[in-house]
């Protein structure tokens, strides 16, 4: 499969954003993922969110590692630079690129293998540095490109396509991120565009490390009976959500759900995924109670979704604030400012005589 450029046909009636750009201007190459892959829905949500925010395409940097999910950075925002790096190491590329120019918008797309197995270390440390980027995990519990092995997010008891049952406990990126000090932590579902788009908008606007763990079942290798991340069954039971408008980062995203309402995903073996919208009692600004509530629900096989934790002062620990870098991008500083010159060198050498 070679690279396929999408034809740029612009219909005059297409709506435009503040920059006069249409949604087409935020698209990328044609997806080569399996038909019906949840990842493509996430790509569409990124396109929608970027268009709605009127981001200048050239100011968006798209980063990824290796895997099905990592391919998707080619499928949106062809006007922005993309960097498909090596497996599990996207956060370090993002750190370097962000260090060079802090004034761009950085979007990382990764999968559960790329983030939670081979890339677990870099994921954790990007969080610790509060690197200013939106990091989307397209989480399907399975290795797609290598045909169906369990990933580190596979639940205990979940069944592989070939029948093997997973016995190892999963790593949950959301709980991990909250524990490590992430300043924006959300979970969503690839099928819930109404919830996902505003979350992406909020994440893009967040100053600091924003994580969105998007449950995105694999139609080819994890869509069978016995899987706790089955997509087909999720669709059947998924109730369309009421659209939540994007609200700026400082406030919790308000969903139009009655407090405590859940979206149950009942699988054939009787196990359930329950997507629960945030209830009135939920406090997304408290790291400890958020983590406790998420864990409590997990015990019952339910996944809380939405913006689960947000630091109201994320800039305090942001990398460039801690490093005390100037507002201007480091890559824009003139050489004369950076190189101290021959006179200064003579003064330095005096110490070595």
């Amino acid at each position: 499969m070679t690279f396929i450029a999408k034809p740029k046909v612009r219909h005059p009636s297409l709506p435009t954003n503040a920059l006069g750009l249409t949604r087409r201007d935020y698209e990328g190459a044609l997806s080569t993922l399996c038909a019906g892959c949840g990842h493509d829905s996430i790509t569409a949500a990124i396109v929608e969110a970027s268009w709605a925010l009127s981001l200048e395409p050239q100011n968006v940097v798209k980063l990824s590692g290796i895997g099905c999910s990592s391919k998707t950075t080619a499928y949106f925002l062809s006007g922005g630079h993309g960097f498909n790096s090596v497996h599990g190491r996207m956060p370090s590329i993002a750190m370097g690129a962000n260090a060079a120019n802090r004034n761009l918008t950085f979007v990382g797309v990764s999968g559960d293998g790329d983030t939670l197995s081979i890339g677990l270390g870099q994921f954790c440390h990007a969080i610790r540095r509060n690197l200013n980027m939106l990091y989307i995990v397209e989480n399907n519990g399975v290795y797609g490109l290598t045909k169906g092995q369990f990933s580190a997010s596979a639940d205990i008891g979940t069944k592989a396509k070939k029948g093997e049952v997973n016995c190892q406990p999963p790593i949950d990126p959301v709980l991990l991120a909250i524990t490590l000090g992430a300043t924006f932590v959300a979970r969503s579902f690839s099928g819930d565009k109404q919830q996902l788009v505003p979350l992406i908008q909020a994440g893009l606007k967040h100053t600091g490390f924003g994580l969105i763990d998007v449950l995105s079942p694999c139609v080819t290798f994890n869509d069978h009976e016995g899987s706790t991340k089955s997509y087909a069954y999720t669709r059947e039971h998924y109730e369309p959500a009421v659209h939540a408008d994007f609200v700026p980062l400082e406030r919790e995203i308000v969903a139009d759900y009655a407090p405590g309402e859940t979206l149950p995903v009942v699988l054939h073996d009787g196990s359930r995924i329950v997507l629960r919208k945030l209830g009135a009692a939920y406090d997304p600004t408290s790291r400890t109670t958020a983590a406790a509530q998420i864990q409590e629900r997990m015990k019952h096989g339910e996944y809380l979704t939405g913006l689960l934790y947000v630091d109201t002062e994320p800039q305090k620990s942001a990398f460039h604030v801690v490093n005390n870098t100037p507002d201007a991008a480091l890559n824009s500083l003139p050489f004369e400012v950076l190189s101290p010159g021959s006179k200064a060198l003579e003064r330095v050498l005096a110490r070595y005589r």
């Binding site: 100011n59 940097v61 498909n84 090596v86 370090s92 370097g96 060079a100 890559n331 060198l345 050498l349």
Partner: protein, 619 residues
């Protein structure tokens, strides 16, 4: 392994030509005493060399410091010891054995050490250092520290060093703690006075002021390289701590904190990132240089091993990166505080698939400074990773070298980066298209214009930057990378060639063996054997390397590893006949000495090669 001593150790009154070795326990403050001694000699205008042999440990293990006073300005180890200061009971036996016949042993005579006196051919000088310090200082820690400063006083008397100069140095070191100047001077004076009173001072081996150090500095390679990075305009420094590279990053931070902080805003015009491991460190460098900042990392062999995958990405996706490899003894963890040149092959071909990387081989701190700047220019011009292969000997020892110079007219070579105006004139950016025929494509930076956006990937790509699994499209890019490699050959620093002997015999080497080779050439010449010398300074090899190899009938390849890695590179990458190459391999972990080279050359030129020797001598 002791090396044969080629020079008579102790002829009467050898002025400014001797080696002092000090055996201590690490963590006892001996480093300051040794620096004090070396600098006071240097400030007396006498060329001096210092080598630190230290353990991978914080406190309590044996450590040695070698000071070679060398009126001829040699920068290598002499391979013998004239004066041993044996301060470590644990290593007394071997330290005493190491003293050359006719040499001297200084030891702490507070406790009797009858076994020491077994050697008849050396002069033993006992100084009750512990007793002197116990009587004059309070506190266990102070007494230990002062005992080491005290031996510096003893040596000052024995070697006829200027005590006023020692005081001047102490005053500079402790400018903010003047009380320490007095206590240290007291210890110096105790040792100095004791020696003057009990021995005939100075010894026949002693120092006498010269005027051979002006225009020179004493600096280590890591400090010089860090300074080079500041001057090259590097703004992103990412690293994972590893001996012996850490001091390069420490030095960068120190210089940048002084010279890169905006006076008005107090903001730092650099980003300093301690990574979680070497994989992340090099990833950050690649990310930063991809986005237009000059970025670098410093590491050692184990770090390079970890960086392999990313180096392959930098090569294939054509992203600039600068990596300093301060080589240490391998394999595996090896001996972290000993020196070697054993990463040559690893760096040249790091990562899977058909990869090759530009490597620079500095021979001393001075070159570390200039090559740091060159590394950034080459990386950005060639859009690839450049590895600067220093080693522990260069990186962590103070070397006397010429003053570093900076040309204020220097402008960085940022390579083929399209600006907005150029982008607007383009129909589209074809990232990997060889427009100019030099194998180098044009790149653009994020944030400039959507038309110039491209996708960087380590997966198969066409010359237009698109994903491909098409054989022809793939091969086109791979072949173009070889064309770029040929361009690199013209841009990298040329070899340094000394063919003044006009001999058929040549030495080929690289890096820190340079000083020992120059000295060995002098010694050989005195024995009637003239040899030429080529010091390779970069990979790929420039054309002059091929020419030198072809012009000589016998070539000694001198390197500091077991597997003759430079020799391998030469046979792989040039047309040299393998049979012409003789390896002289030094891989003990200590810096190579001239004696080793002289012996190796003479052994080869023994009777069967007599003709060549004749030829060489006549040359």
């Amino acid at each position: 392994m002791p090396e044969r001593n080629l020079m008579p150790a102790s002829s009467p009154a050898r002025v400014n030509d001797f080696t002092v070795k000090i055996a201590t326990v690490n963590g006892t403050g001996s480093a300051s005493a040794n620096t004090l001694l070396m600098k006071s000699i240097f400030r007396s205008g006498i060329p001096v060399m210092g080598k630190n042999y230290f353990p991978s440990n914080i406190q309590g293990l044996p450590t040695w410091y070698e000071i070679r006073v060398t009126r001829d300005g040699y920068v290598a180890r002499s391979g013998h010891v004239d004066i041993m200061v044996a301060m470590n009971a644990e290593t007394y036996a071997r330290d005493v054995r190491e003293v050359a016949p006719g040499g001297y042993l200084v030891y702490d005579s507070t406790w009797p050490r009858p076994a020491l006196l077994k050697r008849e051919d050396i002069t033993v000088l006992g100084v009750p250092l512990a007793r002197l310090c116990n009587e004059n200082f309070n506190g266990v820690r102070t007494r230990i520290l002062m005992k080491n400063i005290c031996y510096a006083g003893v040596l000052a008397a024995l070697l006829d060093l200027d005590v006023a100069r020692v005081r001047e140095l102490l005053a500079e070191t402790y400018a903010k703690k003047p009380q320490l100047v007095e206590s240290n001077m007291k210890a110096i004076q105790l040792g100095y006075d004791y020696a003057r009173e009990h021995f005939s001072c100075p010894l026949p081996l002693h120092a006498a002021p010269m005027d051979r150090t002006s225009g020179h500095i004493m600096i280590d390679g890591n400090t010089a390289a860090a300074l080079g990075c500041v001057y090259a305009g590097a703004t992103v420094a990412a690293w994972y701590p590893i001996t012996p590279s850490t001091s390069l990053m420490d030095a960068f931070k120190m210089f940048a904190d002084r010279m890169r902080v905006d006076r008005e805003s107090g903001r730092r015009n650099f980003a300093f990132i301690q990574a979680e491991d070497e994989l992340a460190a090099v990833g950050m460098v690649i990310g930063a240089m991809w986005n237009g900042a000059r970025a670098f990392t410093a590491t050692s062999g184990p770090g390079i091993s970890l960086m392999n995958e990313f180096l392959g990405l930098a090569y294939y996706a054509e992203v600039p990166a600068v990596i300093f490899d301060i080589q240490r003894v391998g394999p595996s963890t090896g001996m972290p505080t000993r020196t070697q040149q054993a990463d040559l092959l690893l760096c040249a071909y790091a990562s899977h698939g058909d990869t090759r990387h530009v490597c620079l081989y500095p021979a001393n701190p001075e070159e570390c400074f200039y090559m740091a700047v060159q590394a950034f220019d080459l990386a950005e011009r060639l859009q690839t990773a450049v590895l600067v292969l220093s080693d522990l000997d260069i990186g962590m020892n103070d070397w006397m070298c010429r003053d570093l110079k900076w040309d204020d007219s220097y402008q960085p070579d940022r390579g083929k980066v399209l600006g907005k105006e150029e982008i607007l004139k383009l129909e589209k950016l074809y990232r990997y298209f060889d427009k100019d025929g030099d194998g180098i494509g044009y790149r653009s930076m994020p944030g400039v214009h959507p038309k110039a956006a491209y996708f960087t990937r380590g997966s198969g790509h066409s010359q237009y930057g698109a994903y491909t699994e098409d054989s022809a499209e793939y091969q086109l890019v791979l072949d173009r990378l070889m064309k770029k490699w040929d361009t690199a050959k013209k841009l990298v620093p040329r070899a340094v060639i000394d063919a003044t002997a006009g001999s058929k015999v040549g030495i080929v080497s690289l890096g820190s063996g340079d000083g020992a080779i120059h000295e060995a050439m002098h010694v050989l010449k005195e024995q009637g054997v003239g040899v030429d010398y080529m010091r390779v300074r970069a990979f790929p090899f420039s054309e002059d390397v091929e020419k030198f190899l072809a012009a000589h009938e016998l070539l000694f390849v001198v390197e500091q590893n077991r597997d003759a890695q430079l020799r391998s590179l030469l046979t792989l990458e040039t047309s040299v006949e393998k049979s012409k190459l003789r390896s002289l391999l030094h891989y003990s972990g200590l810096p190579i000495s001239s004696a080793f080279i002289v012996e190796g050359v003479l052994a080869e030129l023994a009777p069967p090669q007599q003709e060549l020797k004749q030829g060489a001598a006549n040359g």
